[in-house]
């Protein structure tokens, strides 16, 4: 069925979509499979030098000395940037202009605040010389004892969590909720520090031309980066041109420009030549953000009917010693389950790490695995099937605000996911199932949710004399498929076939598309494109309808419909005129118009807006070795309008794999003596490999949402993690009867209990 875009705010321009909803392959597919997609570090401007960062091997203290002379003696080394020898900055990198201008280490002092912090930059003619030069610096340190882990210091109440959320939220009477309960559970869960580990290390190729700056660097938010870089350097943001057509993954770590990227720019300034700076993998464990570790206590109460009377979710989280980002872990309990009393609270501890940041589903992911585990524990305490328990506590309105949901097809997600998985055959008690090889088999589930956010973004639409169209928006494709999905939306917005439009994106000279984050990019930029398209079509109509020579003359009141390069009278579709004819008569080479996409405050104040889903997992556990294998994952998601089912399935698969990884694989292990990360590499920091990933099944449940935005898009980038992590953890319990509350679940925690 061809979806229809309804221009709800301008019914004169009702148009019929033809590209949205199609499972097209990626428009950048050929470039990516042939090696022609040019990522930041693939650029080699003439005269380019290589910069390599020397990083601290202590987590706290001072750099006492660097053997700069030894580095400079090395053949090919051009210069060494140190606190004593660097370009001046216009702004203190420790100044806090706004909450999201995170402090960065730009060699402003000899202080070391975490392991892997930059302490110098060696610039050389070749990568080999720069690498060797960095090793020759042989730093000596004054070492202080590092503060490591969730008990490193006195906890305090953070001013806010996440993006300006209150640190504590109380809904209803907590004491009354506990008093009304006949069953109580009280469990504490721990989640580790995790690192984004995009496959592409942060990279920058910086070229100065006077006070103009040209950058090839991956960015999830080019305009924000321009502002930050311009502020630090004292040049107008408009002087900075960022080229970021492809990101080799972001996951939040490329949302804001990082210290190492700034160092590359400074190095280019220092030597007066183009500079390439690429982080080594180990150097990504520090200055480019991570997911903070958490310890979450969940106390739940339920009555005899298995109905929740209270949810009390308390989270302790870590942040850095020098800046503030607070993972909003407990906020996951605001929206999912109905309860007359809900309290969420956060406390923070400062540790000697780089500052944590947004990492795919920040707060939702950490909170979800704890909440979904706790719900599973309570369901079992009540003797109720976990799906049945969730249905008994289904939130008909958003629990903490009382707002109706703009749409919520979670019941259908539960039903269809459970049916596909075969959930009805699940025994209530754990350790009841074995496979033909004697492995313990367990089934678990979790509910997925993620807010349907909108940021602000702009687009510019052009119709050219030959009737073809151009859509421009400086959007960011980090793999989610922005090139493709936004091209599809552009085609429909212009009333043209895909082959007749050009979609331009990925550079900072195009209209500001905001940030690719919060699963909001397609919705935000999609809305901007939709509005830009409507505006340019309106301009075409203004040319044609007052003109007696046009078949559309006099259609002003009835309106026109744009379809396949023609405007049709809405009251008589046989009367139409092509874009080219309209422009030719007007003697115009092209016409353009702009559009903005942003949240509708009125709709947001009336409705709670979230995507939902249900994930079902099967694991098998070796009863002797404790080895865990996920063997099946089924996810059913309702996330509003789906622009491209093929890419959406891939996004949801990817998210579910992150959930599986959260439950079973990834963890940064800290050395409590040194404050260093013991496994800052891809062999020992486990991200799932192909063999870890079971056959997966994704169902998308139709959901029409007239409130979230003009296109009804909710976003799918992050929801896949939520629910999945808990589902896998609950399946491990169901297989073994052993409840592991520290993630990832390790063999050693099962093997003693199994024997």
């Amino acid at each position: 069925m061809t979806p229809e875009i309804n221009l709800t705010r301008d019914p004169a321009h009702l148009r019929h979509g033809s590209s949205i909803g199609q499972p097209l392959t990626r428009t950048d597919g050929v470039l990516k499979v042939t090696g022609k997609a040019r990522y930041a570090a693939d650029n080699h401007p003439p005269g380019m030098l290589y910069a390599v960062i020397a990083t601290s091997c202590i987590a706290r203290g001072r750099v006492k000395s660097l053997d700069v002379a030894a580095a400079k003696r090395h053949p090919g080394v051009v210069d060494v940037m140190t606190p004593a020898h660097k370009p001046e900055l216009a702004e203190d990198p420790d100044a806090k202009g706004n909450p999201f201008a995170f402090r960065m280490e730009l060699l402003q002092s000899d202080e070391v605040r975490y392991a892997n912090q930059a302490i110098a930059v060696v610039i050389a003619e070749t990568l080999e010389a720069a690498t060797e030069g960095a090793a020759l610096l042989s730093p000596r340190y004054q070492v202080e004892i590092a503060r490591v882990g969730l008990d490193a210091g006195e906890p305090y109440a953070p001013p806010v969590v996440g993006i300006g959320n209150p640190a504590e939220v109380v809904h209803g009477e907590i004491d009354a909720g506990f008093a009304a309960a006949s069953k109580l559970t009280d469990a504490t869960y721990e989640t580790p520090a995790q690192y984004h580990n995009a496959m592409e290390p942060h990279a920058i190729v910086a070229v100065w031309d006077g006070d103009k700056l040209f950058l090839d660097t991956p960015s999830q938010g080019m305009a924000i980066a321009q502002g930050r870089i311009g502020g630090l350097l004292g040049i107008p943001p408009g002087n900075i041109h960022i080229n970021s057509p492809f990101l080799g993954g972001g996951f939040g770590s490329k949302g804001l420009v990082s210290g190492p990227q700034m160092l590359g720019i400074m190095a280019a300034r220092l030597v007066g030549r183009p500079v390439n700076l690429v982080l080594r993998r180990s150097q990504m464990y520090g200055p480019v953000g991570h997911r903070a570790s958490t310890r979450q206590r969940l106390r739940l109460g339920a009555d005899d009917a298995g109905v929740l009377t209270v949810i009390d979710h308390h989270a302790r989280i870590t942040t850095s010693s020098f800046d503030d980002f607070y993972e909003p872990a407990a906020d996951a309990s605001h929206t999912l389950y109905a309860s007359p009393a809900i309290r969420t609270a956060h406390e923070a501890v400062r540790v000697d790490t780089g500052t944590p940041l947004f990492m795919r589903a920040p707060g939702e992911a950490t909170g979800s695995i704890a909440l979904e585990s706790a719900i599973d524990e309570m369901a079992f305490a009540c003797g109720i099937d976990p799906l049945d328990f969730r249905l008994r506590n289904y939130a008909e309105v958003e629990p903490t605000t009382g707002k109706p949901f703009s749409s919520k097809a979670l019941r259908q997600c539960y039903a269809r996911g459970a049916e596909r998985f075969g959930w009805a055959r699940r025994p209530l008690a754990p350790r009841q199932m074995r496979d033909e090889n004697g492995f313990l088999v367990g089934w678990g589930m979790g509910t997925a949710t993620f807010p349907a956010l909108m940021f602000q973004g702009n687009a510019r639409a052009v119709i050219r004399a030959d009737g073809s169209g151009v859509m421009e928006s400086g959007a960011h494709d980090m793999g989610q498929g922005a090139w493709t999905a936004l091209t599809q939306i552009s085609a429909d917005a212009l009333g043209l076939d895909l082959g007749e439009i050009t979609f331009r994106s990925g550079t900072s000279d195009l209209p500001d598309a905001g940030i690719a984050g919060g699963s909001a990019h397609t919705a935000t930029v999609g809305a901007a494109i939709h509005n830009a398209g409507a505006a340019v079509i309106a301009r075409l109509a203004e040319l044609a309808t007052p003109d007696e020579r046009s078949p559309l003359f006099g259609a002003g009141n009835a309106g026109v419909v744009a379809r396949q390069g023609r405007l049709h009278r809405r009251d008589d579709e046989t009367r139409s005129e092509s874009y080219a004819e309209i422009l030719a008569r007007a003697g115009l080479a092209e016409i353009d118009a702009s559009g903005t996409g942003a949240a509708d405050p009125a709709a947001q104040s009336h409705y709670a807006m979230h995507a939902h889903g249900a994930v079902f997992a099967e694991v098998k556990v070796d009863p002797e070795l404790g080895q865990i294998r996920a063997t099946r994952l089924v996810g059913a998601f309702a996330a509003g309008r789906i622009i491209n089912p093929r890419l959406v399935q891939s996004q949801l698969f990817g998210g579910m794999i992150w959930g599986l990884s959260f439950a079973l694989h990834e963890e940064a292990v800290m050395d409590h003596r040194s404050g260093r990360i013991l496994n800052a590499n891809l062999a020992e920091y486990h991200v799932p490999v192909n063999a870890d990933v079971p056959p997966m099944d994704v169902i998308t449940v139709d959901e029409h949402d007239p409130h979230v935005n003009a296109l009804g898009i909710k976003g799918v980038g992050e929801i896949g993690i939520t629910g999945s992590a808990g589902a896998v953890a609950n399946a491990v319990w169901h297989a073994t009867g052993i409840r592991v509350r520290r993630f990832p679940i390790r063999i050693e925690e099962l093997v003693t209990g199994l024997s």
């Binding site: 042939t34 040019r38 080699h44 698969f653 998210g655």
Partner: protein, 165 residues
Amino acid sequence: MNHSISLTINGVLREVALADPRVTLLDLLRERLDLTGTKKGCDRGQCGACTILVDGRRINSCLALALSHDGAEITTIEGVARGDQLHPVQAAFIAHDGFQCGFCTPGQIMSAIGLIEEGQAGDDPERVRECMSGNLCRCGAYSGITEAVLEAHANMTAAKQRRSA
């Protein structure tokens, strides 16, 4: 100290003068020969993004010193398609959406081509998953990758049978 080696890269014989013995095959390709399709994800042989074929065998080019491969025949992602005609593995990766960000993709494709040549996985998805596990994909495109390898294997086997029939 100048060293000269000869390499056949994507069918073209190239004499390469190396002033530095420390250069890896990966850095040679990327930084000196403008073959940037091959990617560096870890530089330690842990992620597989730099996978190329050397004398038909898939290797991590970040762990190979260029000097020790004098005379080798090298195939990189740039040498896989025939003009505009994609290799069956490339086409299958697009059809099955076996990538998202695309950064690991050249390595995945070279690894898949190597695997199909090795013939050690055949049409067994479990074997494909195992034998492709040296190539990390953080986006999590593994389902599509496995399907793509299986389909390409089937297509290439069928084509081979047609040719020999």
